[in-house]
């Protein structure tokens, strides 16, 4: 009895040590996040103002705002999603609703996973070789959006697939039993139920796309444009590239440093907002579905 107690006490101590270690490390990770955020806020908050996000840069990028870069990033995000979202959702529908288990499905899945693992700099090389050079789009919104779209495609496919999988099979059986065709079932029954989760995936991939530098480096990004783009064959400025270039080039380092921190902060805020929106949305719809 005594011995048993000892063992169980030892167990308890072991458990307490292990658990507090895990707890500590988890909070440590969160602390890293806060250190990074705090660092950027501390350095960058000084330059944030309405002018910073609404004006053109002036004095050789050392004052004024980053308005064109923000607009450029928004255009690129929009353009890439215009491609990745419909294609990704349709691909996921095909995978989950249409094709039967077998080598085709396995193959497509494998390829999608492979694409997800391709490094972003390789996407940049590919985009430059295919869109910019081969198809002669030149450095343009079109080339950059397509490159980013391909990069985001696996993310959209994966999240949509998860969303479709989460739809209970009884819905499908009921609809098919009532004589609806497969597409009717998919479009009228499955998609509406899965919709909130699909949107969450979309928002998450927006966060991913807006921060990528390597794929746009050689496909679209420009250092300084006096005006906003007027067509899809124009180049744009973009936040991540802007941050990269003003933190590494420019002759007035102290001044452009400040601008760089401000740009980083704006970039983080965009990512933060889209992540928060995604989790909010998930929660909101999650509740609604349960209530029904």
């Amino acid at each position: 009895m005594d011995k048993d107690l000892k063992i169980s006490r030892k167990k308890k101590i072991n458990q307490a040590i292990a658990f507090s270690l895990f707890t500590f490390l988890s909070y440590f990770i969160v602390a890293i996040l806060f250190v990074i955020l705090a660092f950027l806020i501390y350095k960058g908050i000084g330059v944030l103002s309405w002018g910073f996000i609404s004006e053109m840069p002036t004095d050789g990028m050392t004052s004024g705002g980053i308005y064109p870069a923000i607009i450029g990033t928004l255009i690129l995000v929009f353009g890439s999603m215009l491609f990745a979202f419909p294609v990704g959702v349709m691909a996921a529908i095909y995978m989950n609703e249409y094709v039967k288990d077998g080598w085709i499905k396995r193959f497509i899945k494998l390829m999608t996973n492979n694409l997800a693992g391709v490094p972003s700099i390789v996407f940049g090389l590919f985009g430059m070789a295919l869109f910019v050079n081969k198809l002669e789009f030149g450095d343009s919104i079109l080339a950059g959006s397509l490159t980013l779209g391909l990069l985001a495609l696996p993310v959209v496919i994966r999240t949509t697939e998860e969303a479709l999988k989460a739809v209970d099979d009884t819905f499908r059986q009921a609809s098919l039993g009532l004589g609806a065709s497969k597409w009717q079932t998919t479009s009228k029954v499955v998609l509406p139920i899965a919709f909130p989760n699909i949107i969450t995936g979309l928002i998450l991939s927006i966060g991913r796309v807006s921060g990528e530098t390597a794929p746009i480096l050689f496909t679209v990004a420009a250092y300084f444009l006096p005006k906003l783009p007027s067509g899809i064959f124009d180049q744009v400025m973009a936040l991540p590239y802007h941050l990269y270039v003003i933190s590494t080039s420019g002759t007035n380092i102290e001044k452009s440093r400040e601008m760089a921190y401000g740009t980083a902060l704006i970039l983080i805020i965009i990512v933060l907002i889209s992540n928060l929106a995604a989790s909010r949305l998930r929660k909101y719809f999650g509740k609604k579905v349960k209530m029904n």
Binding site: T58, D59, G60, M61, F78, G79, L82, P86, G138, D139, I141, S187, L191, L217, F218, A222, Y223, F224, L225, P226, K227, S230, G231, I232, F233, D234, Q235, V245, S247, T248, S249, G250, T251, N252, I253, E254, S256
Partner: protein, 280 residues
């Protein structure tokens, strides 16, 4: 669903249709592309020119000298900025394409050798710098400093600055493999400022308190010359390289405004402001 999709697609069509009318604009649109070293200068010149003459718009795009020259060859830019001369393979391509290229010298970029502000050494001969970068001298005490390992920083191997420094200062010898290369001059300044044994080279323009500039001797230690715009201008300071705007001869009418402006008194004043060395 379908309606939503359509709403999403509309702006894209709008964008497409705009693309076609791009050429019709009456405004003179000039594109400058290339060397990251010339970027800040070209951007400043463009900004000031546009302020004067609102009928001109100038876009400035980075990417590197190679990218700029390729773009010039393909006709996707009007002016290529270059921090080096054409390479033979590039010159060949232009002659194959039957394109005549005009090179305009716009400014000089003087390179200063910098060290950590706490470093006792304040001057080096060219030979010493060569030996440091080729790995023969590894400790500051060999050149009269403290007993401290030398950490040499350089620009990326592909940059014009890297090649110029190699040809001019290292007697065309290759850098030692353990020389650190940084993606940009700003990064070199940052690193040299926070590393005690560091040595680096940057454009004269990058004057900050966080690093110390060295005087350099090109006559085996007889005279040491501190880098300054004045010294670079009268050519007593030896390490300075030319910066170019290159354009196709048939295009000279179109690019005249920005070229003339850059070479004008006002434009050359900007050169000085940005931190490069004016021509006169």
């Amino acid at each position: 669903m379908k309606k939503q999709l359509l709403v999403l697609m509309l702006p894209a069509f709008a964008m497409l249709s705009c693309g076609g009318s791009k050429e019709k604009t009456e405004k003179q649109a000039i594109t400058i592309k290339g060397s990251d070293t010339v970027l800040p200068l070209a951007q400043m010149e463009a900004e000031k020119l546009m302020k004067q003459d609102s009928s001109i718009t100038v876009s400035v795009i980075g990417g590197g000298t190679g990218v700029g020259i390729t773009a010039l060859l393909e006709g996707s830019t009007d002016i290529a900025m270059a921090s080096r001369d054409l390479k033979t393979e590039e010159a060949l391509k232009f002659s194959e394409a039957k394109k005549e290229i005009e090179k305009v010298l716009i400014a000089y970029d003087a390179l200063s050798v910098i060290v950590h502000p706490g470093n006792k050494v304040s001057q080096l001969t060219r030979e010493q710098i060569e030996k440091i970068y080729t790995g023969e001298i590894k400790n500051w005490k060999e050149v009269g400093g403290e007993d401290l390992k030398i950490v040499a920083y350089s620009r990326e191997s592909s940059s014009g600055t890297y090649e110029y420094f190699k040809e001019e200062v290292l007697d065309d010898k290759n850098y030692a493999t353990d020389v650190l290369s940084m993606p940009a001059t700003g990064a070199i300044v940052q690193s040299v400022g926070q590393t005690k044994g560091a040595i680096g080279y940057v454009g004269l323009a990058y004057q900050t308190k966080s690093v110390k500039q060295l005087a350099v001797s090109y006559d085996e230690g007889k005279t040491f010359i501190a880098p300054s715009v004045a010294a670079a201008k009268d050519k007593t300071y030896p390490i300075s390289r030319p910066l170019f705007f290159m354009y196709e001869k048939v295009n000279s009418e179109k690019v005249k405004s920005i070229i003339d402006y850059t070479l004008s008194e006002e434009g050359q004043k900007i050169v000085l402001e940005v931190g490069y060395v004016p021509l006169k």
